[in-house]
Structures are given as structure tokens and as C-alpha cells.
Amino acid sequence: MSIEKSPLRRKLDKLFVPLTVGPTLLWIAAIIVYPTAKLFLSSFQFRNPVTNEMEFVGLRNFRRLIFAREGGEAVLGVFSPSFVSITTNTVIYVGFSVSISFLLGLGIALLLDKDLKGRGWFRTAVIVPWILPYVMSGLMWRWMFQSDFGAINGALQRLGVISGNIPFLSDGALAMMALIIADVWVFTPFIIIILLAGLQNVPEQLYDAAEVDGASRWSRFWNVTYPFLKPSILVALTIRIIFDIRALDLVWVMTQGGPGKATEVWASWLYRTAQVFNEPGTGAALGVVLLAVTFAIVASLYKIFGESPYEA
């Protein structure tokens, strides 16, 4: 009775999980193991630029990064001012740009999910900022915010909103704002794309059920759309935050962390330390700290959004 076509088919079927998961795991493992080991190892080392030797220094890199120094050595408990200010900058930068782009992206995705003629064109149009190379976008925004030739000042003046020039990139707070605007501009399309895909999974019949249950638009969003969108929100926020915590291109191109250190964030700090200062040890320590922070954030996102609607 069996319609068994070939033992091979059966073998393949039985090996489905190993065959589908294996290559990916191998790929990732093959590439990740060495760099990660190296990263952790380096975080305990210090390269002396004079002797050019890597010295084992235990946790000193971490201590010096995080805590203030007094008389040469780091004092546990007192945070270093630069750690505090850069962390604050990062929180502001990531917090604002992620939340603004998320809300904006969600709104646009909901609009684009509607049955609109020509929505294909809208979708393409909306994605474009993300297609431009980040370096290009960063330069473009630097150019837009430039105080004399910048289009923003130009347009605001033309519209009569301001009379003089606003030196966007010379003022710490304004520079941060400019960075956030650029970041939102570049990455909102990503949110839109992910959420738009997620919206396809909401079973239409549940909207009917909720409507009949008397649910208002808002309530329908929370009780039908949102639970089905959760997995996509998780993806969107996680990737967005991971990207932003380490986003270097825009910052480096637009402000290089300046003026002063007003827009220095973890990513630029890490790059500066590891690549520019050529202090692989301190950079690695910073990388490990970033890894831990990212992990914590992702874990908490998982807690909030990590449940599929069909899961028991």
C-alpha cells in the first residue's frame, strides 16, 4: 500500500530539521567562533603603543571605561563622566530615533496596508531613503543642515520661519536633533517594510468578529492587529535597536561625535577607541559591554512582544 517513492525521500524527510538548520548553524558558527573568542580575549588585554605588546590586564579595561579615574586607577562606583555622557547621548539618540521612526513607520504601514490604488508606487517611494548608501545620506543631511548653504535653513528662511541661520551642527542639542532626524529618515522604511509584511498575517475574519463585538477602531487595533503584529514588532524593534546602538555611519559622517562630544555615542566611541586610537583591548571591552546591553534590551523586548498569536 505504501506509495513510498524512494528511500532517499524518506531519509531527506527525516533529516528535515538537521538539513534546514545545519548549514545556517555551521555558517554562523564557522564565522563567529574565532572573532568572538578574540573579542573576549582582547577585552582583557591592553596594547602598549610604545612596546607594541598586548599585556594581560584583567578587568582593567572595563574598569577604566566605566568608572572614573582618580590618581591613576579607576574607582569602582563612581562612573566616569565620559561613560555617563556618552551613555546619555546613546540613550537619547537611540530612544528618540527608534520611537519616532517606529510610530511613524507603524502609521505609514497601516496606511499602506489599505486597499489603495497606486499603493505600489507609494511603497516604493517610501522605501527610497533606505536605499541610499548611509554614507551618502549622512553627507546629504550634513549638507541639508549646513548653516549657510543648507536647505533646511534656506527653506525655513524662505518660509519666513526664521531670519538668521540656525547653526544646527554647531550646537550640541541641535546636532543631536539633526542626527535623530537623519536616522529617522533613513530607517523608517525598514520599520514600514517589516510591519507591512506582518500586517498580511492578520486574519481578516477577526476584524469582523471584533467589529461585531462592538470594538472601536482603537480596540480593534489592540485586540486584533496588535497581537498578530507582535512578532513583526519584535523583529522591527529589535533589529532597529541593534542597528542603532551600533550605528556608526551617520554619526561619523555627520558630526564625528561633535561638536565637542555632544553627539558621541557608544558606536562612535567604540570605533574611535578600537580603530582610530588603535586600542583593541579597550575597544573589545566596550564591545563586550555593548553586547551585554544589547542582549538585555533584546531579552526584554522578547518578554514584551515575543509571543506568537497561535502559540498555546
Binding site: S147, D148, F149, N278
Partner: protein
């Protein structure tokens, strides 16, 4: 220069691409015979370095060694090189970079002494020779110069009733207010993106320097005078509004756009102004004299050879060739890069190409420009930048800023065992 930047590719056809993958095998390290190809890392596109490009073409023609030019974005060249050399990789044979990178590279043993004797090196000014030599070995052959220069808008100054620009810091301050009319600012300064260069330039004018011979930072006293000068500029409204740091990038553009009466900037801005403006609108002068001198900062570029290169001989030959008097002159003729060989300024061809007042200022600057090479240069610069920017913007007390920078740098040097 109409030449295509990919001429190296065109010229050597299939060879260059084949050579890339097989060079390890064909080129012995002993090299009784010189390699027929080298890889040269250039900062930025050669399009912006037509002088270098022209000299490379000459080099290839005359030596038969083909040069594969890898263009790396300016701001990233040092990072790239560091990454490559940290892995002791032989990808790079020679590169083109500034002198101030040398201290770190040399102490890391990443550079090969290029072995150029005094017959080659003596034509450069002593100050320059000092910058490229460590423990008696030469690690870089100076190729073309960049240093501070003082430019002004002749037309505007005339309109305002000035024959000549301010000649001292005091005059900058006293005449600046009158020069700052409407949209115009009286005095601006920049080494775009490099705050510390600007600072050093004024520091040298004030008679200071960053470090003494014992690696001790010694910039605080004179630094205060510099910041006081800036303070004066800001208070009198002479300094432009949008200035965000000593490395403000827009200054050059704004000068070209006619926003500034006078500007103390680096040399290429002069060439740009000549291109964009009427011949007689641009004016040049020796930098305003500070408390001590008219010295400017020197950001000379040269060519070095990688310690990991497998084609060192060819690379050294390249370094030599690119820095002969002939090449220096050629570079200046083609691109306008200030020659680092004083004699070149007397050359007829050069004289006929450039106005004599400009040549005179250039040569003056070449001979009076100063620089320092010091360990952990990026960190040191970062510590300075970090403190100077708020001080410049009036957000931090200058003395406190300088002292903070001082103690940071001192601690850094203690950490690495220099102090």
C-alpha cells in the same frame, strides 16, 4: 588633467589583475630582481590628486614598474592601514600619508626605513627632515606640502577701505570688527575636520608647542593665550556664527561664497579660490603674527613603505622617485600642491605658472611651518579636541579646558609608560 585615473589598469592590462593573485608566489623576498608591480594606497580619489597621478604615470614609464593604486577614503586610510598591519598583512607596499601618523606606525614596527640618504633628503628643510626621521632612520619621503596660509577677499577689503589685511593678532582683533559687516565675518580659521591642527597653528604662533622632548605636555600657558585670542574674536563678533569647532568644515565653502573677509586656512583653499574667483579678488599674505611668530602648522604628505611588503625594493624606488625635485615641481605644476623642496619655487616654469606673491608666501610658510610627531597621536588629538571645542564656543573656561586636556594626556602617557 585629462588623464584617466585608471591608467594603471589600462596600461598593464591583464598583468595587473593576474599579478594580484600570484604575487606571493612569483616575488621572492630576497628580490635580487625588483618586482614589476607595487600596490600603493592613496588617501582619497586620485582625481583629487592629479599631481600624484601624473608622477605615477612618469614612474611607470621610466621604471616599468606598474603601480596599482588603491583609493581609500581620506578619513579612513589610517584605520585601513592599521587593520591590515595589525594582521601583518602584505597587501600594502607603499602609502601616501601625513607625517603626523609616523610616530605610532614606527613604534609599532609597521614601517620600513626607506633608506634615502642625505643626498636625497638634504633638499628638504630641516624642520621637515626632523619630522620623518626616528632614531636616525628615514621613514617617509616628503611628497607635497600642506600648511596654513592667510587669504583674504581683496575686493571686500578695498571696499571697506583697507589696503592690506591685519598683520598681527592685535590687528585682527582691532580691525576685525569693522571687517565684520552684515553677513561678513572678519576672520575665520580652519583645518577642516581637524581642530587640533588649527589649535597647533595658533599655538606655534604664540610660541608654544604640545610636548617637550621628555614627552611632557607643555601647551597650557601658550594655549591660554590662543584661547584668549579666540575669546576676543567671539566677543567682538569677528568669528563667524556657525563655527562649531576649530575644525569647522564649512569655512572653506563659506569663504568661497564670500562670507569672510579674511581666513587663515590651509593651502588648498587658495587654489580653490583662484579657480572660483576673479584673479584679483583673492589676496594672500603672511599669517598674522602672534605673540611669538608667524609660524603655521605643517601637514606635509609623504610616501612610506610597509614593513610587511614583499616588494620593498620597488616600493622604496617608488618613494624615492615620487619625491625628487623633478616630481615635486611636476606635482606643483599639475595640481598646485605646494612643493616641499624650496628650490622649486625658483624654477622658471613654476614662476611663470603662479603669481610671484603667492610663491613668496608659500615658500615663507614652507620654511616657517612647524609640526610635531608624538605617540598616541589620535588620542592626544581627541583629548585636545574634546576640551577645545567647548572652550572655543564659550561653553567652558579656557584654563579649565586646557588643564583637563593636559591631565588627560598626561595620564595617557603615564598609562603607556612614556612618563
Amino acid at each position: 588633467s585629462g588623464g584617466s585615473d585608471s591608467s594603471t589598469e589600462d596600461g598593464s592590462g591583464g598583468d595587473s589583475s593576474d599579478g594580484e593573485s600570484s604575487d606571493g608566489a612569483t616575488t621572492g623576498t630576497g628580490s635580487e630582481t625588483m618586482a614589476d608591480e607595487i600596490v600603493f594606497y592613496n588617501a582619497g580619489s586620485l582625481e583629487f590628486d592629479p599631481g600624484t597621478e601624473a608622477n605615477i604615470e612618469r614612474f611607470e614609464e621610466e621604471t616599468g614598474i606598474s603601480v596599482e593604486v588603491n583609493e581609500v577614503p581620506w578619513s579612513n586610510l589610517k584605520t585601513s592601514l592599521t587593520t591590515i598591519w595589525r594582521n601583518q598583512d602584505s597587501t600594502v607596499d607603499a602609502f601616501n600619508g601625513p607625517t603626523w601618523w609616523l610616530a605610532d606606525f614606527v613604534s609599532s614596527d609597521w614601517l620600513e626605513p626607506i633608506g634615502l640618504g642625505s643626498d636625497h633628503m638634504s633638499k628638504f628643510p630641516d624642520s621637515l627632515n626632523d619630522l620623518v626621521q626616528f632614531d636616525g632612520q628615514t621613514y617617509m619621503a616628503p611628497e607635497f606640502g600642506k600648511w596654513g596660509s592667510y587669504l583674504y577677499d581683496q575686493q571686500y577689503l578695498n571696499d571697506q577701505g583697507f589696503d592690506a589685511p591685519p598683520d598681527t593678532w592685535d590687528e585682527v582683533l582691532s580691525q576685525g570688527e569693522q571687517l565684520s559687516q552684515g553677513d561678513k565675518s572678519g576672520f575665520a580659521f580652519t583645518w577642516a575636520g581637524k581642530s587640533v591642527f588649527s589649535f597647533k597653528q595658533f599655538l606655534y604662533q604664540a610660541g608654544g608647542q604640545l610636548f617637550n622632548d621628555g614627552y611632557e605636555p607643555v601647551f597650557v600657558e601658550e594655549g591660554k593665550e590662543v584661547l584668549e585670542f579666540f575669546n576676543g574674536l567671539r566677543e567682538r563678533g569677528i568669528m563667524p556664527d556657525g563655527m562649531s569647532s576649530l575644525g569647522e568644515g564649512g569655512v572653506g565653502d563659506n569663504f568661497i561664497a564670500g562670507q569672510y573677509a579674511t581666513v587663515e586656512s590651509w593651502t588648498p583653499l587658495g587654489a580653490r579660490a583662484i579657480d572660483e574667483w576673479d584673479e584679483n579678488r583673492i589676496g594672500s599674505a603672511k599669517p598674522p603674527k602672534g605673540p611669538e611668530s608667524r609660524a603655521t602648522f605643517q601637514d606635509t604628505n609623504g610616501i612610506s613603505v610597509s614593513a610587511f611588503s614583499e616588494r620593498k625594493d620597488a616600493a622604496k624606488e617608488f618613494a624615492r622617485f615620487m619625491t625628487t625635485r623633478e616630481s615635486s615641481k611636476n606635482n606643483m605644476l599639475v595640481e598646485g600642491n605646494p612643493a616641499v623642496v624650496p628650490e622649486v619655487y625658483e624654477d622658471d616654469e613654476v614662476q611663470s605658472e603662479y603669481p610671484s606673491w603667492l610663491l613668496e608666501d608659500m615658500r615663507f610658510n614652507l620654511e616657517n611651518a612647524k609640526s610635531e610627531t608624538y605617540m598616541a597621536q589620535p588620542q592626544v588629538d581627541d583629548y585636545l579636541n574634546e576640551q577645545l571645542t567647548p572652550a572655543l564656543l564659550g561653553n567652558k573656561d579656557p584654563e579649565k579646558a586646557l588643564n583637563d586636556a593636559y591631565s588627560n594626556i598626561e595620564r595617557l602617557y603615564q598609562d603607556i609608560g612614556l612618563l
